[in-house]
Symmetry: C2
DNA sequence: TAATATTTTTAGACTTATCTAAATTTATTT
DNA sequence: AAATAAATTTAGATAAGTCTAAAAATATTA
């Protein structure tokens, strides 16, 4: 059995591994709001358990065993988010902290029954793919709204930034999952965009906002 | 904020308070499968937080603040049990350990939405009353099957023993919540009973089994 | 490449919850 | 009421996870 803390470290390392092969001590410390010295200690412990590969001063990465645990935690997190939003009617900006606790309840039986109860969702309320019970994840296509050019159209399929403030803002302007966005214009100076949402009106959004929205181009 | 451990101690003291006004250190140690010395330490900590009244060598009991926390944990435990049985189709003998983890997730919002989702159940799958959000509990009528005499009839409304083996046994003989039991005979020697269940057949049950079944007499 | 800056690790301390063993208090017997 | 037994508390250790400050390693810059 692994503690909540160990699971959180594995999850953080998994997340950071997307950007870099070797994850630095400081990166983990930042991600978990802790100190580098604490990270070193925990990494050694995880290395003893063969959950990470670790060479002092060189960074860490997950072993297959470590990755398996990380993915299973993410799977639970995302399933619980679906439960909270679909069944308990929470909003997408309210569920992260609760899922952060629920994800550590380790029962395969519970996870599978929950998944079935939710009718095998493929994505969580933020559009992130839910790993299946074997640990396979539908890799996110990394196209964002900021990548589109004038007159192009995209369907919102996910968000990169999960902060309350961002999600709340998106709700307010109507940029929710499934919305169809068309680029009306781009300001060269700061890359802010003028867009229409579901063929309606004209909204101005910053580059910061547009590059955190995952989209899919229509077929 | 209180730790999982503190909540478990409060819950244990609450449970034991039903039988005795002052709860002994050893009783708590037994209930939580820990040592008396550990209990003494934790009780002092809870006393510092004004969650229990404690006089060395004299036992503990809960303050109003402590009782409030204990009841809220029990409320969450029982609501989650309903969720696990009604929605996820677990059996009543499978849910205790999971509810034991879920009960420590502290979010009033979550608890109230869960309660609403479950349509405000009054009892958990073992027939135990679910405290309302103000901490009021429907006190259990303490009548058991063992209290009935020949030819009397009772409806099963709860179980006192929550062990897997007992619940499993009850399932096997058909002694589930709502079943109507009539006493056909009592053996004076060991107080074992011969009963009919839902007016069907004849089953022999031990005194140990009958005194752990709460019943309600028909009106 | 030498000097400086940054990152990472080590050393030692602290907190929470636990334990064993010994000491103390309360309860029970004779 | 004294002696013994049982229950409870204290003292000192241990393990997990964290921290600060100092030391060591690596990276950067002039």
């Amino acid at each position: 059995m692994n503690s909540f803390t160990e699971e959180n470290y594995l999850k953080a390392i998994f997340k950071l591994s997307k950007h870099k092969e070797e994850v630095s001590t400081n990166a983990v410390a930042d991600e978990l709001n802790t100190k580098a010295s604490s990270v070193t200690d925990m990494i050694k412990k995880l290395a003893d358990k063969k959950l990470v590969n670790y060479a002092p001063y060189k960074g860490v990465n997950l072993t297959d065993a470590g990755r398996k645990i990380a993915v299973s935690v993410i799977r639970k997190h995302r399933l619980w988010e679906v439960f909270l939003v679909d069944k308990l009617k929470f909003k997408w900006d309210e569920v992260h902290d609760l899922a952060e606790e629920l994800e550590h309840i380790n029962s395969e039986e519970l996870t599978e029954r929950l998944e079935e109860f939710l009718e095998f969702p493929k994505y969580d309320p933020h559009g992130d793919p839910i790993p299946d019970k074997n640990g396979n994840i539908d890799r996110h296509k990394e196209q964002t709204l900021a990548d589109l050019s004038i007159n192009e159209t995209g369907i919102i399929v996910g968000v990169k930034d999960h902060s309350k403030s961002y999600l709340n803002y998106l709700d307010n302007v109507g940029l929710v999952l499934g919305a169809e966005v068309q680029i009306l214009g781009v300001v060269e100076f700061d890359n802010s965009m003028s867009i229409s949402i579901n063929k309606q009106g004209k909204t101005i959004i910053s580059n910061q906002a547009s590059k955190n929205l995952y989209i899919k181009k229509p077929n």
